[in-house]
Amino acid sequence: MTERIAAPTGMLAELTHRCPLRCPYCSNPVELDRRSQELDTETWLRVLAEAARLGVIQVHLSGGEPTARKDIAVIVRSCAELGLYSNLITSGIGLDEAKMTALAEAGLDHVQLSFQATRPETNDLIGGLDGALAQKLETARLVTRLDIPLTLNAVIHRRNIAEIEDFVRLAVDLGAKRVEIAHAQYYGWALKNRSLLMPTREETLAAVATVERLRREYAGTIVIDAVVPDYHARYPKACMGGWGRQSLNVTPSGKVLPCHAAETIQGLEFWTVKDKSLAEIWTASPAFNVFRGTSWMREPCRSCERREIDWGGCRCQALAITGAAEEADPVCCKSPFHERVEVIAAADATQPNGQYHYRGFEKRSDQATNIPEAVP
């Protein structure tokens, strides 16, 4: 391969896996990094500088709860100084006026605030924390008062799929300029909880139609972006815009991944920012090169006219459902495994509601409920 590898535009910086919430669809890996494994401030500042030099434009400061780190304002300031667009992806829990003001003054560009539901009982049940909704509302008001652009993010699943219009209204009421209606993607924790999260096909199709209608009704007032319910889709999503094409993900302990679920693929070799520069990792690490481009593809992807539209879809989903990461994403109607997706979705949608398997530090799940590590 002599073709020059294009620079990434986005970096997801998972600053910590500590989080006051325990959402059962969390995108973090099932095995979470502990505080003692987290990169220090100096290393993050180096990584940000390397990212800017490499060509990263937008940095998504995420977690866990990124503001659980005491150096969050230092990190935001560094983004601003480097010309990186900073996006704080937060639960909104534990953010008081002083902390938020410090972030605004450090030059934070945008806040994406998650809501689990629009009613306290449901919101707090899904996030696994009493009083969470009230705190989120307070944070949202703080953000708009400080004139930082706000996006409201809602992960959609069985328990809140009927609330899509309520989410959009709430977002408008709170002064958000953008709302993300993100249907749950089934990796990691969400995969563990899939039978408790999966909505029916009818509910899903109705939800898609609702988003279309709301887009028309709210045009010019709020931007509604959607993450599609891919188990019910015809073609797969272009996961991450293609493996190793647009973005990279740095974990709390410094591993650099092509996507947040990449570690579920056994046998991939991930490099860490502790040993190598971001540029070196982006261009040369085996994990980035293994599914980059189209040469790794099997049929039906290899000869498909959509191969450079969806890039074969999601490798982690291919692995989870077909047993091989090189297969087409089975969400695709052309995949020989497509029927499995339909069978799983239909079967899971009929399962009764029960106790979620909440996100937490697995080896000490009893303590994870109180999260002694969660708050510094």
Partner: protein, 95 residues
């Protein structure tokens, strides 16, 4: 009257907080950055955006563009209004 003609020439278009126009040295290209969006403005779009400095009125922007590019004012006015309306619908510019 088209909708595009409806914006008053006296308004001052501005990029809101969270939207930035910047030159990317790595790709040698201008970019308009917004929440979860990276837009790559073409030549004309860039000339319009550079003039949305939060101080200049729409009329003055149109005059300047018409003069700079030796184009008919009415044509420029209609293109600029359409472009800005499109961005306003995406909440990327404030009119």
């Amino acid at each position: 009257m088209t909708e595009a003609a409806a914006i008053s020439g006296a308004i001052i278009p501005r990029l809101p907080r969270g939207v930035r126009l910047r030159y990317d040295d790595v790709r040698s290209q201008w970019m308009l950055l917004a929440p979860e969006r990276i837009l790559k403005p073409d030549g004309i779009a860039l000339e319009i955006l550079k003039r949305c400095d939060g101080k200049t009125t729409l009329d003055a922007i149109i005059d300047d563009l018409a003069k700079s590019f030796g184009a008919a004012r009415e044509e420029v006015a209609s293109d600029v209004r359409e472009f800005l309306n499109g961005l306003a619908a995406k909440r990327i510019i404030e009119l």
